[in-house]
């Protein structure tokens, strides 16, 4: 069989303000019919750029060299996409190759019905009567698993859930039965439980529609679940290419090994938690908790006669001194809201929420201020949590200056250097501006700032979700190390069970504002009692193709 996509020695250069930058450098790849090729790599590795050249979707500033030969279903010759004119590209797109985007809510036009958007692609490549087109669209919607397609075809995108929207985007890609579908991080914006369903659908695209899939992802679990063959990219170059089982079992290149080793796996944290538990002095469990929530309720008032939104509903938990509580949940589960309320950023509407002896329910800013210096906060996105106009040293010194420990950022420099050293950043980084640091470095600086006043309580809101896997591993290790040295209590919020497992002594699982399960790591992850926790665990793809195949069978059983 001939390859359906054949990329030969592809190089892509972008013109930027700081001169030309080479994003892809001499990559050769091929995709066979009916195959799922996963292109993995960290941000900036050139994986998205490589995949976008298959559809000729690069911006004007890009300069492409090399050949990308794409063969249609009934076109044995193929044509070089890199050399196509705009009208040739237009004819090719949708018919020979289609794209599934990362964020389904922005890939669909909100002012047209989904049926109209699917039929639009159909009309661009041939003439159909209205009835024919509608029939085809209903058919494809049914095949991607939209219930009641005859009715739903006339609905607008906002009437669908995130997972359903992604199904519609996939239906749009499938309507002309293209030979290859390029899926750019198709599940990154989705929750874990929805991700499992979309991966299942993509697998059916291959099995039932016979399409090849080029899957771009940074999630090794997704790769293990779906891919037949894996190409690893690093800094614009192809590092390694192997069948999926071979790559996970015996990675050849050091970079691949390092990448796989950095992926957090569930169960790794048990040993760590045991060590921590053994170190604790006697009588620890009887100490007064640092944070104590009882029937905590947080409501966002509705506007314009909309009902109020209950973000957190009747949640109770305690955090004792030196303990790490991990909160896991999907988007909208209320985990971030709890963290913000703990720092006094969101108002508590009901129940009792005691933080360091201050009742947060009804507390005024004046009452919270005295405990501010005892709380540290690490934000999710390191790109926005630093004032872009201040140097890192000035940012880290800010809490010291505000609380009168130093007269000016310059006075605090000695302590700042100490802190930077504690988070393994060279002191000279203090003179740099935030944009001059990488994501991982910035997140470490953020940790330094949170620890500047030796807080008793640290709140970390998804501190690693914006980072690449290998960088995430280093930040998590650092967090663990600092926790051991400084012994602060912490609330660690994450959507990733494996990350929480690595650090937390106890894990709380949130679902729609309710705490459905709480216990030690081995209780919650080892023997989950709540059906939601069970489903969450089963949906999580593990970075091991053999184990994942078994889990998939389990998941199918659970969801049936």
């Amino acid at each position: 069989m001939t390859d359906i996509v054949d990329i030969q020695d592809l190089s892509v250069t972008f013109a930027t303000d700081s001169g030309p930058v080479r994003a892809v450098d001499g990559v050769s790849l091929s995709v066979q019919p009916g195959e799922v090729l996963a292109v993995v790599g960290e941000s900036g590795s050139g994986k998205t750029v490589t995949a976008k050249t298959i559809l000729g979707l690069l911006p004007e500033t890009a300069h492409v060299r090399g050949a990308v030969v794409l063969r249609g279903r009934d076109d044995a010759e193929g044509a070089d996409v890199a050399a196509m004119s705009a009208s040739q590209l237009r004819r090719m797109r949708g018919r020979d190759a289609a794209m599934v985007f990362q964020e389904p809510s922005t890939a669909l036009n909100p002012v047209f019905t989904v049926g109209w958007q699917i039929i639009e692609g159909l009309q661009a490549h041939g003439s159909y009567t209205k009835a024919e087109a509608r029939e085809k669209a209903i058919d494809v919607l049914r095949r991607v698993g939209i219930p009641d397609p005859e009715v739903r075809i006339d609905h607008y995108p906002h009437q669908f859930s995130g997972g359903q929207k992604q199904r519609i985007v996939i239906a749009q890609a499938l309507i002309l039965d293209p030979g290859v579908i390029v899926a750019d991080e198709p599940t990154t914006a989705l929750d874990v439980t929805v991700q499992a369903e979309i991966l299942d659908l993509l697998r059916r695209c291959r099995d039932e529609f016979g399409a090849s899939i080029v899957l771009i992802t940074h999630n090794m679990g997704v790769v293990a679940d779906l891919a037949d063959r894996v190409a690893v990219m690093y800094q614009g170059k192809l590092v390694e290419q192997a069948p999926v089982k071979e790559l996970f079992a015996a990675p050849r290149e050091p970079y691949t090994q390092q990448l796989l080793a950095a992926v957090p796996r569930i169960g790794e944290g048990l040993a760590r938690a045991e060590v921590r538990a053994a170190r604790r002095p006697e009588g620890w469990a009887d100490q007064a908790p640092v944070v104590s929530a009882k029937d905590l309720r947080i409501v966002y008032p509705g506007r314009f006669r909309q009902p109020d939104f209950v973000a957190v509903d009747g949640v109770s938990f305690d955090i004792r001194p030196g303990e790490v509580l991990g909160l896991v949940g999907e988007s909208g589960s209320g985990k971030t809201t709890i963290g913000r309320a703990m720092a006094g950023l969101t108002k508590v509407s009901g129940g009792s929420f005691e933080v360091l002896g201050v009742e947060m329910n009804g507390a005024k800013e004046k009452a919270i201020r005295p405990i501010r210096h005892r709380i540290g906060f690490v934000f999710q996105d390191p790109a926005t949590s630093f004032n872009p106009l201040l140097t890192i040293a000035q940012c880290v010194a800010e809490p010291l200056v505000v609380h009168g420990r130093a007269g000016s950022p310059e006075d605090a420099r000695a302590r700042v250097d100490e802190l930077l050293e504690a988070v393994q950043l060279p002191a000279s980084f203090g003179d740099r501006f935030p944009h001059e640091l990488s994501g991982g470095q910035r997140q470490r600086a953020s940790l330094a700032r949170a620890l500047a006043l030796d807080p008793e309580l640290l709140i970390a809101d998804e501190p690693t979700s914006a980072l690449d896997v290998s960088v995430q591993a280093r930040v998590l290790d650092l967090f663990d190390e600092l926790h051991r040295e400084l012994g602060f209590a912490a609330l660690f919020i994450s959507h990733d069970l494996a990350v929480v497992d690595m650090l937390a002594d106890r894990i709380g699982v949130l679902h729609k504002g309710r705490l459905v399960e709480e216990g030690t790591g081995s209780e919650v992850l080892g023997a989950p009692k709540d059906p939601y926790t069970q489903r969450l665990l089963a949906s999580l793809p593990v970075p091991d193709p053999v184990a994942q195949a078994a889990r998939r069978a389990e998941w199918e059983e659970l969801s049936a």
Partner: protein
């Protein structure tokens, strides 16, 4: 790699372009290409000529702005351009060229006072209004909208009368013109600053300052204010040209400065109206040209700054083949983004290497 090992001040000095090239207009001039560059350069040249003329007026102008006679006697009214009066004389007997040159000084003063006052008031109100929100915000926005609803020139006339009270000294006239322009501009600065402040207020670094326990004043001044003034140079240039037009309009309608107090282009144009019908062109063409060219220059600068500050509108030099070592810049998590300052890749390189080696 050397910069990471070097001492702190040396590292900052070597890893970033010099302070000079990071100044607002200079940095944009450096990154512009093609037509956008042409527009910016043309605007800068016109503005530069205007500024120089205003600064060097006493040296450049052959006569004073209110001079009617020299050793040879009176200039005479409506004299054609000649070697003694290069651009002729006006109906009142003033030298046109001298009035033109001195007039640039008045225009510049009005721009400076008007823009400085409106920025000061507008930005402060915008900052407070955007940061605290609530009823104060609503009241200020309603007032700003109400001012928008008035024809701006009418408002300027009313204010000129109120402020100067018929006074016609140089500073009285300039202040009257400048402050009446200020009132029209304050809503603009208020709106722009308020919008930016509302955006910045929800950024994580402001929340982080709140969590640290910083006071409102500190958050507003240290974290919010400096981050929300990025579009100021742009509005500033566009408003400067609008200020000139308003000043000329006031002068033309007779609410300007008396010719004995200062030279003013709008006044000269007003007095030249009757000359046009009798074929005397030099009294109206030159002040008119001066207004057009200065406004054109300032607008060109403003418009091209606008285009250049938006990465989607900014044209870049076509990407030829890259120099080989540039590939390193795409390190695994090096902050390379289109639009990143030119200095970013260099300091990031050792950083990327450090992450990778771990």
């Amino acid at each position: 790699m050397a910069s990471a090992a070097a001492t702190a001040p040396a590292a900052t000095a070597s890893s970033r372009p010099s302070r000079w090239t990071r100044l607002p207009v200079i940095s944009q001039l450096r990154q512009s290409v093609g037509l956008q560059r042409g527009m910016l350069v043309a605007g800068l040249v016109l503005t530069g000529i205007f500024l120089l003329t205003a600064l060097l007026a006493p040296m450049l102008a052959p006569y004073g702005f209110s001079q009617l006679r020299d050793e040879d006697g009176s200039f005479g009214s409506l004299q054609e351009p000649s070697s003694a009066h290069l651009l002729g004389t006006t109906v009142g007997g003033y030298d046109v060229l001298s009035r033109l040159i001195w007039g640039s000084r008045t225009a510049l003063l009005v721009i400076i006072v008007a823009v400085a006052a409106s920025i000061l008031v507008g930005v402060t109100l915008g900052l407070i209004s955007g940061y605290f929100g609530g009823w104060l915000d609503r009241v200020l926005v309603v007032i700003a909208d109400a001012i928008y609803a008035f024809p701006s020139l009418l408002l300027a006339i009313v204010l000129a009368i109120v402020i100067s009270g018929g006074q016609s000294s140089m500073w009285g006239g300039i202040l009257a013109a400048a402050l009446s322009i200020t009132v029209i501009f304050i809503p603009q600065y208020l709106r722009v600053t308020r919008a930016e402040v509302i955006r910045i207020k929800s950024e994580a670094f402001v929340e982080s300052a709140r969590v640290i326990g910083a006071s409102h004043a500190r958050i507003m001044i240290r974290h919010v204010l400096r981050n929300s003034t990025r579009t100021m140079p742009l509005i500033l240039t566009l408003n400067a040209s609008e200020a000139i037009l308003t000043l000329a309009g006031l002068g033309f309608l007779g609410f300007g400065i008396e010719p004995t107090a200062a030279a003013e282009w709008g006044y000269d144009l007003n007095k030249a109206v009757s000359d046009v019908t009798s074929g005397i062109w030099w009294t109206s063409v030159f002040p008119g040209m001066a207004i057009v060219l200065v406004v054109l220059g300032l607008t060109l600068v403003g418009e091209s700054l606008n285009d250049l500050s938006d990465p989607r509108l900014r044209k870049r030099a076509a990407g030829a083949e890259p120099v080989e070592d540039l590939g390193v810049d795409l390190g695994d998590d090096a902050p390379v983004a289109p639009g990143a300052p030119a200095g970013a890749p260099e300091p990031a390189a050792p950083a990327a290497a450090k992450e990778a080696s771990a």
